[in-house]
């Protein structure tokens, strides 16, 4: 009995845990048909890793589309919007702002609440190159099954505490 294609594919992707992995591996080593199939997976992986046909071009195309979409976005930040205000009202607003700033500066300083941010550990590195950090974590990579390269142009950062929730409970605003 030979393992089916999905099992062999999972074996190739290192998704089958021990001790089943060793048993299937043992079978594959002695079975020409299974070995050929595993070799074909290796070959596909190798080609995709080293010589992916047209990947650079399509990647470039996708990034350009994302960039074009960002440019086309009609969202104008508040600070860039033009608003017409009558001069007397503007003068009154300036006076109010100056008065307000003076008043708040006289108040005793309050401590900001800590908010809902996750606990933070700062890690020191000799330089701030994430590639060096990735090198440090290389042994972690051997356990990783899925590598995703995020679009370089997308601004990302922590936005509150990480969440895990049922899709049915999540409402997009």
């Amino acid at each position: 009995m030979c393992p089916d294609g999905q099992i062999l594919s999972a074996l190739h992707d290192r998704e089958i845990p021990s001790p089943w992995r060793e048993k299937i591996q043992e079978h594959v080593e002695g079975c020409e048909k299974c070995r050929d199939q595993i070799n074909s997976y290796h070959e596909v992986s190798r080609r995709l890793r080293h010589d992916p046909p047209g990947l650079k071009e399509s990647q470039e195309r996708v990034w350009q589309k994302i960039a074009a979409r960002e440019r086309l976005s009609t969202h104008v930040p508040l600070w860039k919007r033009r608003v017409s205000i009558p001069a007397p009202l503007m003068a009154a607003a300036v006076v109010a702002v100056i008065f307000g700033l003076t008043f708040f500066n006289l108040l005793p300083e309050k401590k900001e609440p800590s908010g809902n941010t996750p606990e933070v550990w700062t890690v020191q590195f000799e330089n701030h190159n994430l590639e060096d950090l990735a090198e440090l974590l290389k042994n972690r990579d051997s356990q990783v099954q899925v590598f995703i390269e995020l679009p370089r142009s997308s601004p990302m950062g922590l936005q509150g505490e990480p969440q895990l929730l049922r899709a049915a409970d999540y409402r997009r605003e």
Binding site: M1, K23, V123, Q124, L133, V144, I148, S154, Q159, P162
Partner: protein, 167 residues
């Protein structure tokens, strides 16, 4: 070696043999009954809830064995570890571990880690936001949404077959 010491060792050996099986058929037999398909849809969503990028993939695993992801961006690296545990009542306990390394010129490199768990039904879709989800329109940051669905392999094959048939 006394009998008292040999007996537990024999018991241990017997238990291991039962669990591991002796041949390929045992391994395949175990896997065919316990395989779980973890379907992941990774999305980058902008502050106005528009998906600007997405990627889908499936992974085979067994209960208690994690599916590990690494997402690399311009200023951050995210490690996500999704572990499904089948409960005795055939429900699922999903554990998501997230580790984020964020780098900025002002603050250097920072490390954040989180561990979340959620009891769900098999096939129920779950969302994991490793970077959080508090949208701040002033910062105009994108966030990452990981949609997770865990199904037994057989149900997953039926599910995808029905999906193809419906098209």
């Amino acid at each position: 070696m006394s009998k008292r010491r040999i007996f537990p060792l024999l018991l241990l050996h017997f238990a291991f043999s039962l669990n591991a099986g002796d041949g390929l058929e045992d391994a395949l037999g175990y896997l065919s009954g316990n395989e779980l398909v973890v379907s992941l849809a990774t999305r980058i969503v902008e502050s106005e809830n528009q998906t600007v990028w997405h990627m889908e993939n499936t992974n085979l695993t067994v209960s208690g064995q994690s599916v590990n992801l690494k997402m690399s961006g311009e200023n951050l690296v995210i490690f996500a570890q999704i572990t499904p545990y089948i409960q005795t009542d055939q429900t699922l306990l999903l554990i998501a571990k997230g580790e984020v390394f964020v780098s900025s010129a002002e603050e250097g490199t920072k490390y954040y880690s989180t561990l979340k768990s959620l009891p769900v039904s098999l096939g129920e879709k779950v969302l994991f936001f490793p970077l959080g989800m508090a949208v701040d329109s002033n910062r105009n940051l994108y966030y990452i949404e990981l949609e997770i669905q865990v199904l037994p392999r057989k149900a997953s094959e039926k599910h995808s077959f029905e999906g193809e048939g419906a098209r």
